[in-house]
Amino acid sequence: MGRFFVSQAVLLCLAALLTSCGQSEDNQTVDTVSEEENSTSMFAMNTYVTVTAYGNDTEAALSSAEEKIRSLESLWSVTDENSEIYAVNHSGGNPVEVSDETAQLLDFSLQMNERTNGAFDISLYPVLTAWGFTTEEYRVPDDDEITQLLERTGVEKISLDGQTVHVPDDMQIDLGAIGKGYAGDLVAEDLKQNGVKSALIDLGGNIQTVGTKPGGESWSIGIRNPFGEGNFGVLEIGECAVVTSGGYERYFVEDGNTYWHILDPETGKPAQSGIISVLVIGAEGRLCDALSTSLFVMGLDRAANLWRNSDDFEMIIVTSDGGIYITEGIEDDFTLSKNFSQPEVSVIRR
C-alpha cells in the first residue's frame, strides 16, 4: 500500500512537471496571454498578404477578410478585364458607373492630389507602362516620349459625380499607390464587425492593426533598412496603419543608373528628391498609402511643411545621404537598431 502510494505520487509529480514544461513551450508563441492566434496568407493585389487575428473563433472573420481582399482586388485590378478600373480605362471617354467602394477611393484620390499639390497622381499609368514598371520589361524612355505621355496625364481632367466616373479617352488610371491602403481600412473594419478585437493585417509591408496585441501590449513593427538587409529600427504602435515607400521596392539598373518605380508627376521620371524611404503612420491606411508615395516625391522640406499643416499623420524619412528624420509625435515610440551605422536621428518639430 505504502510503496504503491510512493510510486504513484512520484509519477504524478513527474507527469505534472512534463505537462507544465510542454505548456510553457506553447505559450511562447502567443505571449503570456492564452489567446488563440489564427492567420491566413494569400497572393492578392500584386503582393503577399497575411492577416493574423487573436482571440477565440476567429476563423470565420478571417475567411470574411480573405473574401473582402479578393473582391477589392477584382474591383481595382488594372489588368483584370472584369475590373471596374479596367472598365474606366477602356471606356472610350464615356462615363462609367462604379461601386460605392471604388467611388469613395477615387474621390479620396482626387482630394489627395489637391492636398499634395499634385505629387499624388493616379493618372500616371501610361508613363509607368513606358518605363516597364507594370510589365517588368524595363526600359528608359527618351525625353520626347515622356513629354508626349505626360500630355495624357492630369488628375484635373478626371471627373467624379456620385458613382459616375469620367476619364478622357487617351488617359488611364491606376490605384496601385493607394488601393492596398484602402483595402487595409476596409479589412480592419470588416474584422471589427465580425467581433475581432486584436489583429494585424500585412499587405506586402503595408501594415494595419486592429486594437492592441492580446493583453494590451503595443505591436512592434520593424522598419526596412533602405540601404541593405534587415531593419533600421522598430516602431511601437497601437491601432493604426503604417505604410512605407522606398526606392528599393521596385527598380532596375541600366548603364549604372538606378531607376525606381516612384515617378515624379511633373517630370515623368523617377523622383529624385533626396529621399530614399518614407514611413507614414496614421489612423487611415488610405491616407498613409497615398502620403508615403507623395512625400517621397515632394522631398524632405515640402514633406515637413505638409506635416506641420496637418494633424492626421506622423512620418519617418530616410534621405539618400543616410539622414533619419522623425516627426515629434512618434519620437518616443521609435528605437533605432543597434546595427544601423547612422547613429543620429533628427526630430522634426512643429
Binding site: 505504502g2 510503496r3 494569400m42 512592434s220 522598419i223 541593405g228
Partner: protein, 119 residues
C-alpha cells in the same frame, strides 16, 4: 522495499530526462524553423540549426528558384524572374522572402522579433 527503491530509481531517471528535455526546449533559440511554401502549400519545413549547407531548387510553371542554405542561414540564390526582389531581400531575417511571379515564400515558422515589418 526493493520495489520502492526500483520505483525511486525509475522516477529519478525520468525526472532527470524531463529536466534535460525542458532545458533543451527553453534554451533552443527561436526562429530556426523555416518553411518554404508555394501558392499556400508548404513544400519544406527545415530546422536551420540542423541543416547542412545545400541548395534547393523549386520549379513553378517552368521557372526556377534556387534557395541556398549556408552556415545556418537561408536566402534566394537564383531566380529567373525579371525583378529579383527575392534575391535582393538577402538572408532571411524578420521579413519573409517572397517571389511574387513564382508564388514562393520563405519564412520563419515561429515568429521572432518584430510582429511585422513595414517595407
Amino acid at each position: 522495499m526493493k520495489n520502492a527503491k526500483l520505483w525511486i530509481i525509475v522516477a529519478a531517471v525520468i525526472f532527470i530526462a524531463a529536466i534535460v528535455w525542458c532545458v533543451i526546449i527553453i534554451t533552443k533559440p527561436p526562429g530556426e524553423i523555416v518553411t518554404i511554401s508555394q501558392d499556400g502549400e508548404t513544400l519544406y519545413t527545415l530546422d536551420l540549426s540542423e541543416e547542412s549547407d545545400r541548395t534547393i531548387t523549386v520549379e513553378y510553371e517552368g521557372r526556377e528558384n534556387v534557395i541556398e542554405i549556408k552556415d545556418g542561414r537561408i536566402h534566394m540564390l537564383e531566380a529567373d524572374c525579371p525583378d529579383h526582389t527575392c534575391i535582393n531581400t538577402g538572408w532571411l531575417e524578420d521579413l519573409p522572402i517572397v517571389c511574387l511571379p513564382n508564388k514562393l515564400v520563405i519564412e520563419f515558422a515561429d515568429e521572432s522579433g518584430a510582429d511585422a515589418v513595414a517595407r
